[in-house]
């Protein structure tokens, strides 16, 4: 469709996967290093997506389109309550 980006198709070489994995590991170290002592903050690490480059991950999994939603307001709240 319009706006569709290229989706990685076909087998990926082991070199490519290894390179993506190395990049992921570096990213994890960076993300986890910034707020190490903040309790309960998110932890980043190896998972099923670690073998993908960010642009590949986005091309496959992050494909939701958005349009502007109207602001929520008390009047809307009343309207919705009546409707529901």
């Amino acid at each position: 469709g319009p706006g569709a980006t290229s989706t990685p198709t076909g087998p990926r070489s082991s070199e490519q996967q290894a390179a993506a994995f190395r990049e992921s590991r570096n990213r994890h170290r960076y993300l986890n290093s910034l707020f190490p002592r903040e309790n309960s903050t998110a932890i980043y690490g190896i998972n099923q997506f670690s073998y993908l480059f960010p642009e590949e991950f986005k091309a496959i999994y992050l494909r939701t389109k958005t349009s502007r939603f109207p602001r929520y307001s008390p009047e809307v709240s009343m309207l919705i309550s009546n409707m529901s």
């Binding site: 309960s40 980043y44 991950f57 939701t64």
Partner: protein, 214 residues
């Protein structure tokens, strides 16, 4: 508002599903909200067909992407009845739309709302309690590496690109957070869920929020 609330505790949220390499998270989130809306109304909780939405929803692109707003609009305008997942199972790719007769059992919606709750996450929590799990769209670029904990950094509200379902919130700790169901399988994140800090529109979680009425 309670300090903690999760529709899963009411047994009205279906199990986490896996979209695999199909960009159909928009369909998973809308179908998940419809499943919960009917369960809240007292119907049995069951998986409904995501593939039906991927194949049949106009103004969307199936596994190549889509919009939760267009999917809700399609459900509402056509009054199509979602059939059970077992009758129209997920295939991880686009397919031709299967049509069912009017007499076929299914679940339609009566309406929906779609609003920007940014800077009003307290009202968003109230809407969650009132209407059931909410469909949301977030910027999930950093979720590629997420393992657990509360997402409060590295997640801007710039470019929303991934649809999820918000099933609850937890304010009992020092950092209140939304409880967010994803569609990347139950091994991802916290049993398939993510925890996103409340109050700062982290990941843009309050920008594109929809509720389903049945």
């Amino acid at each position: 508002l309670p300090s903690r609330f999760d529709w899963r505790d009411k047994h009205v949220v279906t199990q986490v599903r896996n979209q695999h390499a199909c960009g159909g998270c928009w369909a998973f989130s809308v179908v998940g909200a419809v499943e919960s809306a009917y369960a809240i109304k007292g119907k049995p909780l069951e998986d409904l067909s995501v593939q039906q939405v991927i194949d049949c929803s106009y103004n969307n692109y199936g596994c190549n992407g889509g919009s939760t707003f267009n999917a809700l609009n399609w459900l509402n305008e056509t009054q199509v009845k979602l059939v059970r997942d077992s009758e129209y199972p997920f295939k991880e790719r686009n397919g031709l739309c299967h049509y069912f007769s009017d007499s076929h059992a299914g679940f339609s919606i009566k309406g929906y709302s779609a609003h920007d709750f940014s800077n009003q996450e307290d009202k968003m929590a109230k809407a969650l309690l009132t209407f059931g799990p909410l469909v949301g769209i977030v910027d999930a670029v950093s979720w590629q590496d997420y393992l657990g904990g509360i997402i409060q950094h590295h997640c801007s509200s710039g470019e929303a690109n991934h649809a999820i379902i918000i099933t609850g919130f937890d304010k009992t700790g020092t950092t209140p957070y939304w409880i967010v169901r994803n569609s990347w399988g139950s091994s991802w994140g916290v049993d398939g869920y993510a925890h996103v800090k409340m109050g700062s529109n982290i990941c843009g979680i309050a920008d594109f929020v929809s509720a389903v009425f049945v």
